[in-house]
């Protein structure tokens, strides 16, 4: 437990690992040269960047380090991947994606559909968040330039069968991109033998800083840069390199590989303990997504008849940081598109609460959360018009609905 409290919002962002920070610090004050410069200051930095590239390559199991392009994060990687493919295959006018993607993909696809005349096929999910494979197969066709499907969902942790999807896309002649921002570091990968053509990752989800990420581009794939300018990143992403960030990402990739087993054993066990304890202690709540096939660190519980932001505020008061797919936390009026896509009823969607652990989470922290959550839920339900004093849902039909 840190001084600030118990942090269970690691799918939003993670703490920079002190070892990562230590690797980065010299890049600010000592090794500050521009890697493009023809002197020792530049060369030292260039060498570190190449070291970092190899660490990311190793984490992804990629065949070549030159397949890694450093970017400013997940959003830039997603945008670059999609726009590159559309530009490289100008005759193809369709995109296949899913309804539960991150806005970094969905908002771009909406824009391309509205303003650029593309056809976007958004594949639906069932009530466990599993992709509709029949719809996916039906959507693939000669007009599809790119398929962009996330590896693991940020809200529920549900994992999609990426290899199978990539093979199908390949057979249909489409480029396959995956937003693996939540999956990298938690799921072992060997892209060298995979049909995945492009993959996005983001540093700040794996204990590197914010504002650094990478795009994997399989060797031989046609590529068109989004940012044009200098020759950095082999002209695939212009702009002087964010050297400290890149080195931080390299160090974080190395650590992630080392801790992958821990994530999938100890962290997973803590997650399961938390989830089972909440389900046992709190009536009218359930796990969203597919509990049998999800990230080891993520648990998303929907509490019926109460609203997520209120839950978060009370958790925060108890020193616990979590997250919610509720409308109110985002300033929109609709609950999360992921909850709606899974058909989670409105009675529960607004109360969906995500706890996302990391390798830094301890058992004491989980025990403390288990002790606090039932009281918070009971307090809010006592205020809710949908919950009777008897401790059960009740009929309430207000004027507009």
């Amino acid at each position: 437990m840190t001084a600030q409290g118990i942090y269970l919002d690691n799918n939003a962002t993670t703490r920079v690992d002190p070892e990562v920070l230590a690797e980065m610090l010299p890049l600010f004050t000592e090794q500050f040269g521009n890697p493009s410069s023809m002197h020792g200051f530049g060369a030292a930095v260039g060498g570190k960047i190449e070291w970092a590239r190899k660490q990311v390559q190793a984490l992804l199991g990629a065949a070549h380090d030159s397949e890694i392009v450093f970017t400013s994060g997940g959003t830039e990687s997603d945008n670059t991947a999609i726009l590159s493919v559309l530009e490289a295959y100008p005759k193809k006018k369709s995109i296949v994606t899913s309804v539960v993607e991150h806005p970094a993909v969905l908002a771009l696809c909406d824009y391309l559909e509205k303003k650029r005349g593309y056809t976007v096929h958004r594949i639906g999910v069932d009530n466990r968040g599993n992709l509709d494979l029949d719809a996916y197969k039906a959507a693939l066709g000669p007009d599809v330039a790119i398929v962009s499907i996330m590896w693991a969902n940020n809200e529920t942790g549900t994992i999609f069968p990426i290899e199978e999807l990539a093979q199908l896309a390949k057979a249909a002649g489409a480029v396959f991109h995956t937003d693996a921002v939540q999956a990298v570091g938690k799921i072992p990968m060997t892209l060298a033998t995979s049909a995945v053509d492009m993959l996005s990752l983001s540093g700040h989800k794996l204990h590197a800083p914010k504002g650094i990420g990478a795009l994997y581009v399989k060797r031989g794939l046609r590529f068109r840069p989004m940012l044009r300018g200098g020759h950095q990143e082999r002209s695939r992403r212009a702009g002087t390199e964010n050297a400290p960030g890149i080195v931080g990402l390299g160090a974080a990739a190395q650590l992630a590989l080392m801790h992958m087993t821990d994530e999938n054993t100890r962290v997973k066990a803590l997650r399961d303990k938390l989830e089972q304890a909440i389900l046992a202690a709190v009536p009218n709540c359930f796990v969203t997504g597919n509990p049998a096939n999800r990230l080891p660190n993520t648990c998303n519980v929907a509490f019926e008849y109460i609203e997520g932001e209120a839950i978060l505020l009370l958790l925060n008061e108890a020193g616990i940081a979590a997250s919610s797919g509720s409308a109110c936390t985002s300033g929109s009026l609709e609950p999360s598109h992921v909850m709606r896509a899974m058909g989670v009823p409105y009675t529960a969607a607004h109360g969906a609460t995500r706890f996302s652990l990391s390798r830094e989470t301890t058992e004491e922290e989980i025990d403390r959360v288990i002790a606090v959550v039932p009281g918070i839920i009971a307090k809010l339900r006592s205020l809710s018009p949908y919950w009777s004093q008897a401790g059960a849902p009740k009929e309430f039909a207000p004027v507009y609905s």
Partner: protein, 305 residues
């Protein structure tokens, strides 16, 4: 994270008058679980004096919804029904020390529950004219529905007009793209799309830009000796990084009319490519000066010069 005022936090963490009021004779229920917030306001009104003697609430919603409900009950207890009717959503927000623009609808819900409860007490039917859409302009808390209405009712066609009528887009201006989208959608529906924009006076479109005519060969103006020397020095400075990269260096030694003497050092001196390097220097100088010059190694400098 929202920036809630201390007053909002106080009413959220320790809400006043929460729970059911069994002897209520005025009940207003608004909102829905679909919208993400709902409020049941229960009041006990004295039928003779019309004074609201007690009020309680039950709320499904976020922090500010609960705080608004709590504030509302505090504000109306002790007032007569008619006095209470004067309470607006702004009053509720002000009582709480302000609400974030995205959360103003929580105070609206409070004001509506109050009107619904009073209608219920008077035996009238309360109709909701409440409408909400995506919040477009955060600075002024204006949603898409309100912009659509303003555009339709007043036949607006431009972003500026929308700003004049609704204030939307009048502050930080980051919402202009969204306002234009709403505007375009309405105009497309009514078939009143604005005519294509012409270029602003004094500017031209891309199609009007013609390739530049080739420049007429102007006779190079005669350089003074100092200007000429500076040009030579500058051109050699420009070449140096390239030569240094190959491990060598070049240095200007003397200028004698059309003969320019330089010294090659390092890896270049005596290397098989030094002749090539000399030629490169010569080409660069000819280009920079616009006249023919010969570049010679310093070793050929006339003795005693």
């Amino acid at each position: 994270m929202w920036n809630y005022t201390d007053k909002v936090k106080e009413h959220f963490f320790n809400p006043k008058n929460a729970g059911a009021l069994d002897e209520a004779n005025a009940v207003g229920e608004v909102g829905s679980i679909t919208c993400g917030d709902a409020l049941k306001l229960m009041m006990k009104v004295n039928p003779d004096s019309q004074v609201i003697e007690d009020a309680k609430f039950q709320t499904f919603g976020c922090g500010s919804a609960i705080a608004s409900s709590s504030a509302l009950t505090e504000m109306i207890i002790g007032k007569t029904v008619d006095e209470a009717l004067a309470v607006t959503n702004r009053d509720i927000a002000e009582y709480l020390g302000g609400l974030p623009p995205e959360k103003m609808h929580c105070s609206v819900m409070g004001a509506e529950a109050l009107r619904a409860a009073i209608a219920n007490f008077k035996g009238e039917e309360w109709v909701d004219d409440h409408e909400e859409g995506e919040l477009v302009c955060k600075c002024f808390g204006i949603d898409a529905a309100m912009i659509e209405r303003a555009v339709t009712v007043n036949s607006l066609t431009t972003l500026e007009e929308v700003t004049h009528y609704t204030k939307a887009g009048g502050s930080c201006q980051t919402c202009h793209e969204k306002i234009e989208e709403v505007l375009e959608a309405v105009l497309a529906k009514t078939g009143a799309l604005a005519p294509p924009k012409s270029h602003a006076p004094g500017t031209v479109g891309l199609d009007a830009i013609k390739p530049l005519a080739p420049k007429a060969e102007a006779a190079p103006a005669k350089l003074t000796n100092v200007q000429r020397m500076q040009k030579i020095m500058f051109a050699i400075e420009e070449l140096r990084p390239q030569i240094q990269r190959d491990g060598g260096d070049v240095e200007l030694v003397d200028i004698d009319g059309k003969d320019i003497y330089v010294r090659l050092t390092g890896a270049c001196s005596g290397c098989s490519q030094s002749a090539g390097t000399m030629m490169g220097v010569q080409a660069k100088l000819v280009e920079a000066l616009g006249e023919f010059v010969r570049v010679k190694p310093a070793s050929l400098l006339p003795v005693g010069a």
